[in-house]
Subunit: 220 residues, 2 copies
């Protein structure tokens, strides 16, 4: 092996990234069926054929968009680490996700849509499950990993007596709902808050409010 730093051309063309970035915004607003390949192509500034040159079909493009958004969240929660008490880690997790969703504007709505759309996730329950007919997408596996780690954090907190003896799955769903819905609520959120949910002041307040809400909801 020669020590060349990059076997592939030093810089992949950014058309693919631009497509994904644009698609994230459009899919977040319109959902999978609500965004056409033509619309996406003209928004990006390419022809429709060019999209099919970079991605085999619409489904795969969509999956790539989903996974790309989830990677950012995964990176944020991975940066938290595993040190500190369950309470401290819980706070850090919540803050990491809230900050990520507040900076990647389409991500929250995109995630919420993906979770509500029927397709996804016979994953999670897997771990040792074998008889799975459908192969899992990157997105599902990534989400399963994140949720598994968060679930373990909750369990540790319950075991140590720091948290109430809650149902872990129910709490998972409550927390996902409370955090993600806020950044998916669009006009409703804006109408309630009197400002965009992504405005600086709204985000600062949200970080405090939702962290307190969840922490208190879990405290023994």
């Amino acid at each position: 092996m020669v020590p060349t730093r990059d076997p592939v051309p030093p810089r992949a063309p950014d058309s693919r990234d631009k497509i994904l970035e644009t698609a994230e915004g459009l899919f977040a607003i319109g959902g999978y069926v609500g965004v056409g390949m033509r619309e996406l192509a003209t928004t990006v500034g390419l022809s429709k054929s060019a999209l099919f040159h970079h991605f085999p079909n619409k489904q795969e493009l969509y999956s790539a968009v989903l996974d790309r958004s989830l990677v950012r969240i995964e990176a944020a929660v991975n940066a938290v680490g595993t040190e500190g008490t369950p309470e401290e880690q819980l706070d850090a997790w919540i803050d990491a996700v809230v900050c990520t969703l507040s900076e990647d504007v389409p991500a929250g709505r995109l995630m919420m849509r993906a979770l509500v759309d029927e397709e996804p996730f016979p994953a999670i329950v897997l771990q040792a499950d074998a008889g799975l007919d459908r192969e899992l997408e990157d997105f599902e596996l990534r989400l399963a990993g994140i949720l598994e780690r968060f679930g373990a954090l909750l369990e540790a907190g319950v075991a140590s007596g720091a948290f109430r003896p809650v149902s872990i799955p129910d709490t998972l769903l409550s927390v996902i709902g409370a955090i993600t819905f806020h950044f998916s609520s669009g006009e409703l959120g804006e109408a309630l808050l009197g400002e965009s949910v992504f405005s600086r002041s709204a985000v600062e307040r949200r970080r405090r409010e939702v962290a307190q809400f969840i922490r208190r909801g879990l405290m023994a």
Copy 2:
């Protein structure tokens, strides 16, 4: 006025109701753009033309479906009344909504979709707002009414010292997210719980878990 009880034929044909019922299920799964009038028609057992005989267009049919679902929730929370301490009323509200969503299976997902879809709700902030270009749909007004009453309940609790001094809009969004997402989460919820979120045992557990979670999250 003669005392005839029914000026219209004593029983309106139930085709319209059947359309709405079927459409609720389909829209919950596929979303507005994901359900075609043909598909809906054949599922109901009518021709596509018959749908346009009962509703002027797809949008109005969808709005009617949304409003119909929200009416049930409204009825449930109206039945709670205004007696008792804020804590008691809070518990009663949560239980009313959770029970309604657990019985009307498509409703949660339908509501979540409607809330995430960009269209709705420059309402709520209204109340005295005049310069509103778009006329509001029944659905939006009904939701605004429900949220206003729930917001008032929270405010009363904060004022009386029963609840922490939380941000009312943030809490509204947290509670909506925590309750509604659970019943919208489809396969994810089922994978986490190991059973359908609508199964008897899951619903019973959910009633306890989410009520405790929210109550503790708000307690002073």
